[in-house]
């Protein structure tokens, strides 16, 4: 299970939903003469649909926890929770908040490992500065990992020095 793809898939599904709601809100406006400024100036969703949106299996199941808006407009409001998906980072679930047809918040739920600790969903390699790591001294290590060397190259390697020194 690819956690990143799953999350992107889930988010993109939500984005499609959100766009649908925004369209619905706009349609409502054009029929009625009252202009809802909040809906009219709908900011572009920050959730970007990914290329594999069509293959997403994590379709959000609408479970409104807030009743429909009290106004006459039919724009959707509420909190919707996506299907829980199992990944190697643990169970991952996405919750969105919609206000008057506009996606207002996306929250990741259940981002915990087996011990129920919160974990980062990203395992990506991030840049580090040489200064952060350069203090390593060969005298403080027991073995040295490097690109494969020949028996001849070994003779002039750090590993050879370690072996001879018996450190």
């Amino acid at each position: 299970m690819r956690a990143r793809a799953t999350i992107l898939g889930a988010l993109s599904s939500i984005a499609v939903f959100a766009v649908g709601w925004q369209l619905g809100a706009d349609g409502q406006q054009s029929e009625t003469t009252t202009s809802d400024t909040a809906a009219g100036s709908a900011p572009t969703s920050t959730v970007t649909p990914s290329a594999d949106a069509g293959s997403s299996t994590a379709t959000p199941a609408p479970t409104p926890s807030a009743s429909a808006s009290e106004t006459t407009t039919s724009a959707v409001s509420g909190t919707f929770t996506g299907t829980s998906v199992h990944t190697r980072f643990g169970d991952v679930q996405v919750q969105i908040t919609v206000q008057d047809g506009i996606l207002s918040d996306v929250t990741a739920l259940q981002l915990t490992d087996q011990d129920s600790r919160s974990v980062s969903i990203s395992n990506r390699a991030a840049p580090i500065l040489r200064q952060e790591v350069l203090s390593a001294q060969s005298a403080n290590v027991h073995s040295v990992s490097g690109a494969t060397y020949t028996s001849n190259a070994y003779l002039t390697s750090l590993q050879s020095a370690l072996d001879q020194a018996g450190l």
Binding site: P127, S138, Y154
Partner: protein, 255 residues
């Protein structure tokens, strides 16, 4: 407790086996060396009489090769599928070359022998790929990572302990461009010159280090997403990246 060392040559490189405490009996060391020798006899393309050399010349077919060769071929195919062919077991000229997995498989086999003899604490380093067990004086074994720009310097050091006991580094520094790498394009401006992977087992670490080196940054992200490993990369411009777990392991002794 002191470290004792047994050094021997095999597979065109040098193996260093270090123990926390005294060196074990000759029988143990002999079996370890024999395990490497057997892999070398079967798989080396530098030996005209090896099974792989005979397969390369057409004298022997894979179907009629030994179980050991076919098992290794199966594992190599599995890794090729898992990495969408970025890890490959065929040379550009089409010759079956399992050297990308054989050394690691031999290290794993030697590790099993040491486990069978009940050896609790050791570091086995074969040509720069490392498998460890246990600890030294209650502390984790500390592994240095060579700097590809200065091979007698360390880039960093990290601590390895159960279950993350295997460290493999692939690079272009020692043997030249022996690993095929995707050409730099507008999508892949960065190419790696050295990749270290830390994993639970040495075959996974070695294969994925090779795959990330060959595939570049896009594959690094993908592999870190799909496999429970950590990676440290050095690119052509000297830039370094580290996955969260490795950053943590390195900072333990460098902070």
């Amino acid at each position: 407790m002191t470290v004792t060392t047994h050094v021997f040559n095999t597979m065109g490189t040098t193996a260093s086996l270090r123990f926390a405490g005294p060196v074990p009996s000759d029988e143990v060391l002999l079996q370890v060396e024999d395990a490497f020798a057997e892999f070398d006899r079967r798989f080396s393309l530098y030996r005209a009489d090896s099974e792989l050399s005979r397969i390369a010349t057409g004298e022997l077919t894979l179907a009629h090769s030994s179980d050991a060769v076919r098992d290794c071929y199966r594992d190599a195919m599995m890794w090729s599928h898992r990495t969408a062919g970025v890890f490959t077991s065929h040379r550009p000229d089409g010759v079956l070359d399992l050297s990308g997995i054989v050394k690691a498989a031999a290290i794993a086999a030697a590790g099993t022998i040491l486990d069978t003899f009940g050896m609790p604490s050791w570091v086995l380093n074969v040509g720069g790929d490392i498998l460890t067990r246990g600890s030294i004086n209650g502390s984790a074994w500390r592994i240095g990572i060579t700097d590809p720009d200065a091979r007698t310097s360390l880039l960093c050091a990290l601590e390895v302990q159960n279950p993350r006991q295997a460290v493999a580094t692939s690079g272009t520094a020692e043997r030249g461009e022996h690993i095929w790498r995707a050409p730099a394009t507008s999508d892949t401006l960065v190419r790696y010159r050295q990749v270290t992977v830390v994993a639970d087992d040495i075959v996974t670490a070695d294969v994925l280090a090779t795959a990330i080196l060959a595939g570049g940054p896009q594959w690094c992200d993908d592999i870190l997403d799909r496999f429970d490993v950590d990676a440290l990369t050095v690119d052509d411009h000297g830039g370094i990246t580290a996955s969260p777990g490795l950053r943590e392991a390195a900072s333990l002794i460098l902070g």
